[in-house]
Structures are given as C-alpha cells and as structure tokens.
C-alpha cells in the first residue's frame, strides 16, 4: 500500500485530502487549533499574521459561492493573499489542462491550493503533482470527501456535546451522492463515536455502506430514537424526481425532519445541516429555526476550522 498521500515523512499533515486515514491526534490538533481561532473571529480586529506573505489559490472547478467564501474569509483572517479562480468544468475535460492549470499557478508561487472538483479523487491527482512546499486542501471532490465540512461538523458536535464516546449520531438523506456524509462518518469513527447511523431509502444509500462502520435504517422514526445529533443532508433538485425518488413531497413524508420526528431523538439533541437547506424538502422551517438547530453556528465554526487547517499545513 502506498504511503498516505496527506502526510509528510514525519507523519505531519502536508495536504488535507480526506478525513479517512487521518490519525486521531491530527483530527484533535485541528479541532484544538480551531478553538483558539474562534476567539480571533469574535474580536474587533479579526486578523492574525500567520499566513502573511503567503498565497492561497481557491481553485474551483465546480461552482460554489458558500464554501469558496468561507475559505476566502479564513485565508484573509490569517493575512494571506487570496486569489479566486472559478474554472468552468465543461471546458476542462482534458486532464492535461487540469495539471497545466496547477503547474501555471505553481509557477506564480502558490503556497496553498484549495481545490473543489466534480470528480472524486481530483485533489489527490493534484497533490501528487505539486511541489514539496505547496499544500492542497480538498474543498469537495465528487462524492468522495469534503474534509473541512466534516471537521467543522465534528467541531460543532464537540462544542455542544463534549464526549464523543457517549454519542449516537444519525445522518439522514442522500448518503449515496454525499461527500459530506462520507467525511463526517470517517471523522466520527476516528473519534470513537460508538453509534453512527445512516437513514435513507435504499436508492440513496451506497452499496456496502455498512463497511464504513455505520448502522443502516430505512425507517426514520426508528433511526432517530435516542439520537444526540441529527445531521440532515441536502437533497439535490435533480434527484427529487426520477428513478431515485418519486417526488419531493413523498421524500419529505418519509425523510423530512419535522418537530414530530425530532421528538423521538434525545431532548437535548442538536440538528445540523451543511447548507444550503431545502426548507420543506429535507427539513421543516420550525426545526431549522428552532431551539435544537445549530446550523448557523456551524457556519461560524467553519471559518475557524478552515483557518486551523490552513495554518497547520502551512506550518508543516
């Protein structure tokens, strides 16, 4: 087996490509570092000079405003120079140009590449071809991974729940297409969460998902019983009607989170969502805006977590 491509020879974080295979100590290091940055983001002067003089290239081969913006804010709060590149994926079908793009930017003295790509594994390919002092951070690749989202989810859970070893976490919805779900599952199992559940219809669960260390539920009421954390996933518009699901209405009936179903979880359960939400499809507004919801704090923590990841890789 090849060496874990995310780690350098000393076992430190060189790139952040996936939570899978990350040692527990590195995951905790990221969460602890993020905690120290939460203070920064609440100060009046929200800047630290950690990445002063460094260049962060946001390389987005798939459109995204939200994630790109949070990376941009995180980099700027670390005093880095940020360059945003939105590259139309359809004009990028030849891979030579993918690597050419990276080589060209590398020639402009990049330090960190933040990469989003519609094809699973693309950041691994880029990481194999960058110079030794350059770092790649995966901002979402196909269905594979979205490690900073997974980490900010872990951060949020730790903030509200403290002890991972006593938790039951349910992830609900389109697991099949979700890089968020995969990253979170790896993170939760790495930190020793004893019960991770996935809830969804067979059509939205990937083959052999149990091998990731999760329990599968098709009945949402059963799956939510006594949960401490409920993570709702976004259902893409194009998947609401067709061979995967008959309609958004029927999906909401079975797998939408409303106050009634949430009542089956623990009284102090938190509700999370990676955003953007489809209100009335996967989540009811009363829940999304209700007392259990920590959806907006997730966004705030996301900036601190991304600051932590960038400062750690740049320091290694």
């Amino acid at each position: 087996m090849q060496r874990n491509p995310q780690l350098n020879e000393k076992g430190e974080l060189q790139h952040l490509l996936s939570i899978e295979g990350l040692p527990r100590a590195i995951v905790l290091q990221i969460l602890d570092t993020a905690e120290s940055f939460v203070g920064v983001t609440e100060r009046e002067v929200k800047k630290v000079p950690i990445l002063r003089g460094k260049s962060v290239f946001n390389l987005f081969f798939e459109p995204s405003t939200r994630t790109r913006t949070t990376f941009e804010i995180a980099a700027k709060r670390l005093s880095a120079d940020v360059i945003n590149l939105n590259i139309n994926a359809s004009s990028q079908t030849k891979g030579e140009s993918l690597l050419d793009t990276v080589a060209n930017l590398s020639a402009m003295q990049a330090d960190i590449f933040v990469v989003r790509h519609e094809s699973s594994g693309a950041p691994f390919l880029i990481a194999r071809h960058v110079k030794p002092h350059e770092h790649v951070i995966n901002a979402g690749d196909g269905r594979h991974a979205h490690p900073t989202q997974g980490l900010l989810d872990l951060y949020t859970i730790r903030h509200y729940k403290k002890d991972f070893a006593a938790l039951t976490v349910a992830i609900v919805g389109d697991i099949l297409h979700s890089r968020v779900a995969r990253s979170l599952i790896h993170g939760l199992t790495t930190l020793g969460v004893p019960e991770v559940r996935v809830i969804g219809p067979q059509t939205l669960l990937p083959t052999g998902v149990e091998a990731l260390g999760v329990r599968v539920f098709h009945d949402m009421r059963e799956g939510l019983k006594d949960c401490d954390v409920v993570v709702m996933l976004r259902l893409q518009n194009e998947r609401m009607r067709g061979a995967l699901l008959p309609s958004a209405q029927e999906y909401f009936k079975h797998y939408g989170l409303n106050a009634d179903k949430l009542g089956l979880a623990r009284r102090d359960a938190i509700v999370m969502h990676p955003g953007p939400m489809n209100r009335g499809v996967e989540i009811d507004s009363t829940v999304a805006d209700g007392p259990h919801s920590v959806i907006l704090p997730q966004v705030t923590f996301g900036i601190a977590v991304r600051m932590a990841v960038m400062s750690i890789v740049a320091g290694n």
Partner: protein, 419 residues
C-alpha cells in the same frame, strides 16, 4: 533459413509434453531433421514454446495513431513473445468494411512481425443497430465479429446477429455488460467504490447480460466467445452452460486474475479498466476458473492509452492498460500461484486461444508453422515506461519486478525479436 535450436527445455502445451532437447526449423516450419543449419542457437536454460496468442490486443490503427501505431504495438507484441494476436474492431472508423480490414492486414503483413487477426464489427459503426456484411468481412480476413466494448443494448438486434452468424458459422465475440446497469459507472459497485465515492458498476450488470447471451446461444446455437469475464457469478453461469453443451468459450484479462478493486488505492488511474477490477472474491474465482478450464484462456487486453488519458481524476481517465509485454510474466505468475506445470500454464496463451481462433498454431509438431518463443522463466523483468516497446506506457504493474524474460521470437521461422 534453417535453424537448429539445441539444449532447450521444450514445452508443448497442446500435448502437455515437456522435455529437454532440440528442434529444427526449415522453410518457416518445424522440421523433423536439421540438415545443415544456417544458425545454431544454444538455448541452455531457456524454455522453447509455441509463440503466444493474444485474443485481445488493440493496435489503435486506424484512427488513434497518437496513442499507438501498428509498428510500435507489433514491436511490443514480438518483444512479449506474441506471434499471433486478434485485434478488436473499436478503431476509428470501426472495422466494419472489408477495405479497412484488408488494409490493416496488408499493413501488418508488410511489417512482418506478429500475425494479426482482425475481429470485424458485428454492427455498422458498432452502433448496435445494423448488421455488418459479415460474409464480405469474413472473406477479407475477419476471424470473428464483435462489439468490442461498445454496448449492444437492443436484445432483438443481438438475437438477429447471432441467428445470422449461426447461419454461416461465424464466431461472435461478446463482452457481457448490461449498458443501462453500467451507465455512468467507473468502478466495481462495492465497498471500495462507496468509500472512494466512485459511481459503481454492479456485478449483476455482467451476469444479467451473460444470462441474455446464453439464452440466445441456446436458441440460435451460434458460436459465442465471451470476452473478459470479471465476476464469480459469470464464471458459474459459463460453467453450467458448458456442462449443458452450449457452444460457448470465454477468456479473462490477466489484470483481473491478479488485481482487485482494493488496488485502486488512492484513485490510481492505472487501475481504470474495462471491465472494472472487482472484489477479491471475484479475482480468486477467475484465477481458479482459468486453472480449471472453465475459462478457456487468458489475454492481455492490451489497450495503449497516452499520458494525457491517464493524468486525470479516476472517473475521467481513459480505461485500459498496456499488456502485450506483460502477457508472459503475468501468465507465469498466475500459473505459479495455481501450482500448475509450465505446459498447463502456457496452454492458456498458446494452444487454447489457437483453438478459439481456429488457426494452425500453438503446438510443436513437425510441419506446423515455426512461430516460436524462447524465454527465460527465471529472468526478472522490471516494468518501466522506458523498457516497454509499446507506445502505451500505462499499466498497474509499473515499477513491478516480474519473472519471465523473452529472449527470442520467431514468426514463420524468421527471427522477429531477439533480446
């Protein structure tokens, strides 16, 4: 040219005979007696066997010359000890016209290296709609008809194609893959694809398609060769079909008896193959079935892909790997793991594919064409881009050390490769 090869370990897979001795070549054929030889070859420590026969080697001509040319790939063939090969019709244009087949054969003949046996397109442009002129293509030299990896979604067209082929006794070579079930997939639908977030091709995409093919063989009695099995389920179906006496044969690509989806590692695009690498259980079932004879023979599924085609995220990378020069080492490695003798091992790339092609090759008898190979079974070969003669430098085995070095290749008694 008269040759006298002495001190060789002579292995004849067709008869299963093995022994040390000498062999004479005269007028392009294996001869009983030497007379005065033009060249005496001392083959001490080397194995003398029939030249290898590969049922699937893409030469990329016409149409994909930037990936490979007839010259480069036929060089690779003889360097790998391959003296006869069948090339699938997925060229550009596809091999659906006698003129194209004729030109390909002439070009190959002019290069006088390995013998090339074109497999004609089963349908026009491989579009799966209209039958090709199989009679004329057969006259032009096509040994069989196939869709290569192109889908034939319409079962009625497949049925008619098999009826037509059966009428005239043409062989039809088919991949078993349901196009709808495989749509969008790039890896075996299982735990690895789930973990890597790669769209999957379920194993039943193969068994369902194979079930259809076998039913149609039962109805039409067409001679069908199933190409590149990849699942344990397909092995079971073929085993039962053979027990029943259906006129079916099949092969497996050597990658699939050695590798599985775990080898995808961190998105290794070298492992992007068609069919996809499947589970360990499938791999082991294929390796065993090849030893038991349920799978008749092994092939390289040689598919040269250029660098740009592989320097891509896994799903976007072009499927395929170079294979002609790995045919011998990978076959030896398989035979060793299955504890087979050398004759039984080599049968899978000599006498068995010869039987399927229906050609006079793959055996060491007086009067047979002198298509021969001398190789050192213990020579360690390091697989590197520079060492490969093929223009396709991509293989999952890059960097590997494998046993089996070809020293000399003869086609029709002429030395076409010498290390």
């Amino acid at each position: 040219m008269r040759l006298h090869i002495k001190n060789a370990r002579i292995v004849d897979p067709a008869s299963g005979k093995e022994g040390s001795g000498e062999l004479f070549v005269a007028d392009g054929r294996i001869a009983a007696e030497g007379g005065k030889a033009d060249r005496v070859i001392d083959a001490k420590g080397l194995v003398l066997a029939p030249g290898f026969i590969d049922l699937s080697a893409r030469l990329r001509e016409p149409g994909h010359e930037y990936k490979a040319t007839l010259e480069s790939e036929l060089d690779a063939a003889v360097a790998g000890g391959v003296t006869s090969l069948a090339c699938p019709p997925d060229t550009d244009p596809a091999l659906d016209e006698p003129g194209l087949v004729d030109m390909l054969r002439r070009r190959a003949k002019a290069l006088s290296r390995a013998r090339v046996f074109p497999v004609g397109a089963l349908t026009v442009k491989l579009e799966g709609e209209r039958l090709t002129e199989m009679g004329q293509l057969s006259d032009a030299g096509c040994v069989a008809f196939s869709q290569a990896n192109a889908p034939l979604a319409d079962a009625q067209v497949l049925w008619r194609a098999l009826q037509y082929a059966a009428t005239f006794g043409y062989a039809v070579w088919l991949r078993a893959e349901d196009a709808d079930l495989a749509k969008g997939g790039v890896a075996h639908d299982g735990e690895v694809a789930t973990r890597l977030g790669l769209p999957g091709i379920p194993a039943f995409a193969e068994t369902i398609a194979l079930g259809t093919i076998l039913e149609l063989v039962r109805a039409t009695r067409a001679r069908v060769h199933v190409c590149r099995l990849s699942t344990a389920g397909a092995v079971d179906l073929v085993r039962r079909a053979k027990q029943e006496g259906l006129p079916v044969t099949c092969d497996v690509g050597l990658h699939h008896v050695h590798l599985c989806d775990m080898d995808l590692g961190y998105f290794q695009s070298q492992c992007r193959l068609e069919p996809p690498l499947r589970s360990q259980r499938d791999r082991d079932a294929l390796a065993r079935a090849l030893a038991e004879g349920v799978i008749d023979c092994a092939c390289s599924d040689h598919t040269p892909v250029d660098e740009d085609g592989k320097h891509l995220p896994f799903a976007l990378a072009e499927p395929g790997a170079t294979g002609l020069e790995l045919l011998l080492p990978l076959t030896l490695k398989w035979g060793l793991a299955q504890r087979l003798g050398l004759a039984a091992t080599l049968a899978r790339i000599t006498s068995e594919p010869a039987r399927i092609l229906g050609i006079d090759a793959g055996r060491l008898v007086v009067g047979a064409p002198a298509d021969l190979v001398l190789f050192d079974p213990r020579a360690s070969v390091r697989i590197t881009p520079a060492a490969l003669k093929s223009q396709g430098k991509n293989t999952p085995f890059l960097g590997a050390e494998l046993d089996g070095g070809v020293r000399l290749t003869l086609v029709e008694g002429n030395v076409v490769y010498e290390a």
